[in-house]
């Protein structure tokens, strides 16, 4: 097997850690469990991440960049804000369905265990790439006259709180339909709530 680069190996560890955290819970999974699942020694894993906290912070940054990059692509498309809303909802629900560990980590670990992230992940630091793109989405929506001007957080809370709530319901097995069933209505609701 070809030798993996350090970056590839790091990413492999992060993907495995996300799966285990999502399945077993953050506090139940140890560095040793992650190493074992990957067939590597604990000592070697520490070459990549100095502690579980360090890994936890890298993970949220990794997810934030991944989500931010996708929303950036949508922001750069020459389409209306209404269409962008639908694309963001579609992408978010698709990710929640296909890679639930990403969104679950954000909702159930990052937002629920702030003490893990208190040093080095304060405020927007580890979620900057994602929040920046959402800010640009809103700013351009208002600038183009499609969205109503208001405080950023009142709009951000409505959009992301709504999506997070739906994914939470999906995770709890409480949605009677597949999450993608709700894309059209939810996109429409968000647009109607935020439009000029």
């Amino acid at each position: 097997m070809a030798r993996r680069s350090k970056e590839e190996r790091k990413r492999q560890i992060m993907d495995e850690a996300l799966k285990l955290f999502s399945k077993e819970g953050f506090f139940e999974v140890t560095i040793a469990d992650i190493a074992k699942a990957l067939g590597m020694s604990v000592g070697n894993l520490y070459n990549y991440f100095s502690s579980k906290e360090a890994l936890a912070k890298e993970l949220i940054l990794y997810i934030s960049k991944l989500l931010g990059n996708e929303i950036r692509k949508i922001n750069l498309e020459p389409i209306t804000t209404k269409e962008k809303i639908k694309k963001i909802v579609q992408f978010y629900f698709y990710t929640a369905k296909e890679r639930p560990e990403l969104i679950e980590y954000f909702l159930r670990i990052y937002l629920s265990h702030r003490e893990v992230f208190k040093n080095g992940c304060e405020g927007m630091i580890c979620v900057g790439p994602f929040v920046t793109e959402i800010m640009i989405f809103f700013e351009e929506g208002v600038r183009s006259g499609e969205l109503r001007d208001q405080d950023f957080f009142s709009a951000f809370g409505l959009f992301m709180g709504y999506l997070g709530g739906m994914v939470f319901l999906m995770g709890e097995g409480m949605l009677p339909n597949d999450i993608e069933y709700y894309i059209d209505d939810i996109s429409q609701n968000i647009y109607l709530a935020l439009k000029q």
Partner: protein, 282 residues
């Protein structure tokens, strides 16, 4: 050096600014004002027949407008063609300024807002622009004594206008850490986020060459109004235009993504010292 100071549609602000030049007595040893509205000089009708090197224009140019029985545009062009150099002083002479907001026939020497004026081709090779409302006396002095300064796209000397008004502002720490000024007139806080300050995207050395050798707008707690730029004057000067809480205009040359990324990081920390009064009165 012989100078003719011509006033068009103006409030006289630049004439008044100029006579605050602290080195004016020294300048007057080598510079004669053939005509100036406030300084000792020849009577107007004699002055227009006299020889001179530099024409300073203060105020906007209005066609069909008469001054002392003379058609102003013709007077301006006759004097400008006679001069070796032309200096447009103040934003009205440079871009048309505040008077142009009410009468679009009023023009600057080379520009009408950010568009070339009808005099551009004829006069661009010998004109220097010193915008400001008013222009700083030192800037006017610089233009009088500096023969061929390097100019930017609006014919402003780079030595003065390559800086932003933000450079040298004593509130820069608050800008770095995104601490807002809570109200107008406070010593603490940056005026960019709420109070309408245009310094981060306005060209000028107000915080490098101080006014009255003492202060600047932003140092005393007033937002910069962007008076050196072609889009001066705008409305709601004491209020930052935002879209969804994000400033509508970014600091000069800074992409929105870069600005928002840094802002997010800076706002994640609370710097205790910057949240207190500078001089504790308790």
């Amino acid at each position: 050096m012989r100078v003719f100071w011509l006033q068009g549609v103006t409030c006289n602000g630049n004439s008044h600014s100029f006579i605050n030049l602290s080195s004016l007595p020294t300048l007057l040893q080598s510079c004669t004002f053939v005509y100036h509205p406030l300084l000792d000089s020849l009577p107007f009708y004699e002055a227009i027949e006299a020889d001179f090197d530099i024409l300073v224009v203060e105020g906007g140019i209005k066609k069909g407008w008469h001054r002392g029985g003379l058609e102003f545009e013709k007077l301006f062009l006759d004097l400008a063609n006679k001069a070796k150099r032309v200096i447009a002083v103040g934003s009205c002479a440079v871009y048309g300024g505040i008077f142009r907001e009410y009468d679009e026939s009023i023009s600057g020497v080379l520009f009408e807002k950010d568009q070339k004026s009808r005099y551009f081709d004829e006069l661009q090779s010998k004109t220097i622009n010193i915008p400001g409302c008013p222009a700083h006396p030192e800037w006017i002095h610089y233009a009088l004594v500096c023969y061929k300064p390097l100019l930017d796209e609006f014919y402003r000397p780079k030595e003065i206008y390559a800086y932003t008004v933000h450079a040298g502002c004593v509130r820069n720490e608050y800008f770095e850490w995104k601490v807002d000024a809570k109200s107008f007139g406070l010593k603490e806080g940056c005026l960019f986020y709420e109070q309408g300050c245009q310094a981060p995207y306005t060209h000028g050395s107000c915080n490098k060459i101080l006014w009255n050798e003492t202060a600047s707008k932003t140092r005393v707690g007033t937002p910069c109004f962007g008076c050196t730029e072609p889009d001066f004057i705008q409305r709601d000067l004491f209020c930052t235009k935002t879209f969804m809480s994000i400033p509508a205009k970014m600091p000069l040359g800074v992409p929105k993504r870069a600005y928002l990324t840094l802002t997010g990081v800076a706002k994640s920390f609370r710097i205790e010292r910057l949240s207190k009064r500078l001089i504790d009165e308790d």
